[in-house]
């Protein structure tokens, strides 16, 4: 078992602000033990208070180099936003547990670009309060098959080598075998929890795209093969694995590249080993296009894409193209083996 912190993360983070109330937390202690003291500042309130409202592109870029450790004061546990848009979206109806905000990776299409208005990444130091909240929910609904994901507004694992939240969550979920914990990541950071006993109810899922698209659009993430290797490690330790082929991104060689991706997944894993494969096509809030244009120019396949206003208000590919992509990928899986469990997530039917 490795509790080492990746060199990338150590060098990426330029400054860490630790709130007074978090100073003695386990998380803050670990941060202080691994980062040089020059990078750390103790603060009585949220830093950079002069930065308010929507961030500029520069401020957004900078936010990925600053980390704020603070207690979270609200409700940790809430329903997935897809559940509120059931009229226009297919929804897989899961719950989210937010243990931080903002991501240290940098995908061109990331929806956080139209969501985040804080000038730092944030990790919450009071995960124990989150577990108390979960326990209260569990007492009421322990027999219901709740799915709980931690990767809504932060990657579940890309900073987990620092936070070690997984090491608290996995043992907690062991007590509630009917509940499912889902980590969702584009990193390959799994070594920090592989030694833990679990109840077979932990899904480690990867957002995955062909290697070509990872190189071009998913900056700072684990490479394709690294993600596959990490998934294999988890599978070998009895964790369920899942893949989110989301967003599918159109490009001239999309059929070839997505075929190859399906080939790799179906050669490395069996349908029984993969909990689900979810699919979604590129989509984003209309206003997000400005931030993406500023940050990635028009050489990106995402910013230069031909996107159109859709019923839910987001920009999407033409529905014929979306259908073609879904049918192609699902068809390719089913040709390999009809048992592959594929479904559409946050997508119009």
């Amino acid at each position: 078992m490795s509790l080492l912190i990746s060199q990338d993360l150590l060098s990426q983070i330029e400054k860490i602000y630790i709130h007074d109330e978090s100073w003695s937390s386990e998380l803050a202690e670990r941060v202080r033990s691994v980062f040089s003291s020059e990078k750390i500042e103790r603060v009585a309130k949220a830093p950079l208070q002069n930065v308010k409202g929507e961030l500029t592109a520069k401020q957004f870029n900078q936010s990925k180099r600053l980390l704020y450790i603070t207690p979270f004061k609200g409700h940790f546990f809430k329903r997935c936003p897809g559940a509120t848009q059931k009229k226009v979206l297919n929804c897989c109806n899961y719950h989210v547990l937010n243990l931080g905000l903002q991501c240290n990776m940098n995908c061109s299409y990331c929806y956080l670009q139209s969501y985040i208005n804080t000038p730092t990444m944030t990790l919450y130091s009071n995960i124990d309060s989150a577990l108390v909240e979960l326990e209260e929910m569990a007492e009421l609904h322990s027999d219901q098959p709740f799915r709980v994901g931690t990767g809504e507004v932060i990657d579940s694992l890309s900073m987990d080598d620092l936070s070690l939240f997984s090491r608290k969550l996995i043992p907690f979920f062991k007590k509630y075998p009917k509940w499912t914990l889902e980590f969702k990541t584009k990193s390959a950071k799994v070594d920090q929890f592989l030694d833990l006993a679990h109840a077979g109810n932990v899904v480690v899922s990867w957002s995955i795209n062909p290697a070509y698209l990872i190189e071009k659009e998913e900056h700072g993430t684990a490479r394709f093969q690294e993600r596959i290797e990490a998934a294999k490690k988890c599978r070998d330790r009895g964790f369920k694995v899942a893949f989110h082929m989301d967003p599918l991104i159109y490009h001239p060689e999309w059929k070839k590249n997505y075929s190859e991706l399906v080939d790799v997944l179906s050669s490395e894993f069996t349908p029984e080993q993969v909990h689900i494969i979810s699919l979604g096509a590129l989509r984003f809030q209309s206003d997000q296009r400005h931030m993406m244009r500023e940050r990635f120019g028009l050489s990106s396949l995402v910013t230069s894409a031909e996107m159109h206003q859709s019923d839910g208000g987001k920009l999407r590919y033409d529905w014929r193209l979306r259908n073609e992509m879904f049918q192609f990928v699902i068809g390719h899986f089913k040709n390999k083996d009809p048992k592959w469990n594929t479904f559409l997530c946050m997508e119009t039917p």
């Binding site: 409202g53 206003d287 244009r293």
Partner: protein
């Protein structure tokens, strides 16, 4: 604005200027000021006793209708001082001063005719957000001059501006102006070539199909969907029946055409 009613603050005393702000506002004094007079007034260089917020308020009192072009010249022009660049100053004008500041910087680099167009059309920071994607806005100079001289409405102008910016960033060459409608369509196709070509192919396919009499068909695009829109005029039940039969035949033809198109050559 009536030229005779325009005064500059050049010859006014400091106390008068501050009094102007504190007491009333020019309209209530029966005076009117224009933005250019304010931008060029030496008063702008001598206002250290005013905080950025007070200064912004004074300027708004004097002239309540600042456009983005005018503000860009006020804030970045030769008479500007550091006070104008303060977030507190911009906060008096904009909800998001940081984004506004960046947008104003881009506008200031563009031709005066375009700045005036932005003011005439009362463009907002959000309308002109695509400009922030240009590291060198002057690449758009010629386009902006043409846009300013055109007869586009605000929404058309803002739309074509965004397409043009995307095209420039994709190193596509903006075609010369022909007329409003044609230029708009040409630039749309330049930005959305695949959608345009698919829509045009389907339209052509539709025109090959024999449609029953008194039925108008049109292939339309609404956002991410495109579909056949139909207007049926039937005077009698018999005519409607005939039209229905004709429509079934047309649907079959459409289906065959689609199958043919999908069959590899």
């Amino acid at each position: 604005m009536n030229e005779k009613s325009v005064i500059t603050l050049q010859n006014c005393s400091e106390s008068w200027r501050i009094g102007l702000r504190r007491s009333l506002g020019t309209h209530q004094l029966g005076l009117a000021l224009n933005s250019q007079a304010l931008i060029e007034a030496p008063f702008m260089m001598n206002h250290q006793n005013l905080s950025p917020t007070e200064l912004a308020q004074a300027l708004k009192d004097c002239y309540g209708d600042w456009g983005l072009g005018e503000l860009s010249r006020l804030i970045l022009g030769p008479f500007a001082s550091e006070n104008f660049k303060s977030p507190d100053f911009l906060k008096e004008f904009f909800g998001h001063p940081d984004r506004a500041a960046e947008t104003l910087e881009k506008i200031y680099c563009l031709p005066l005719s375009f700045q005036n167009w932005c003011d005439d059309k009362k463009c907002s920071v959000q309308d002109l957000a695509p400009l922030r994607g240009l590291s060198d806005p002057t690449r758009l100079n010629h386009f902006c001059e043409t846009l300013a001289a055109s007869g586009y409405s605000k929404s058309q102008g803002v739309q074509i501006l965004e397409w043009a910016i995307d095209c420039v960033l994709m190193n596509k060459i903006i075609p010369p102006f022909s007329n409003e409608q044609e230029w708009f369509e040409t630039i749309r196709k330049l930005r959305y070539p695949e959608t345009a070509s698919q829509d045009s192919a389907v339209k052509s396919q539709m025109s090959q199909i024999t449609w029953p009499r008194n039925i108008e068909v049109k292939w339309v695009r609404k956002g991410d969907r495109s579909f056949l829109e139909m207007k049926i005029c039937s005077s009698t039940p018999e005519e409607l029946k005939k039209q229905s039969e004709g429509l079934l035949k047309a649907a079959e033809q459409w289906h065959k055409d689609l199958q043919q198109a999908e069959t590899p050559q």
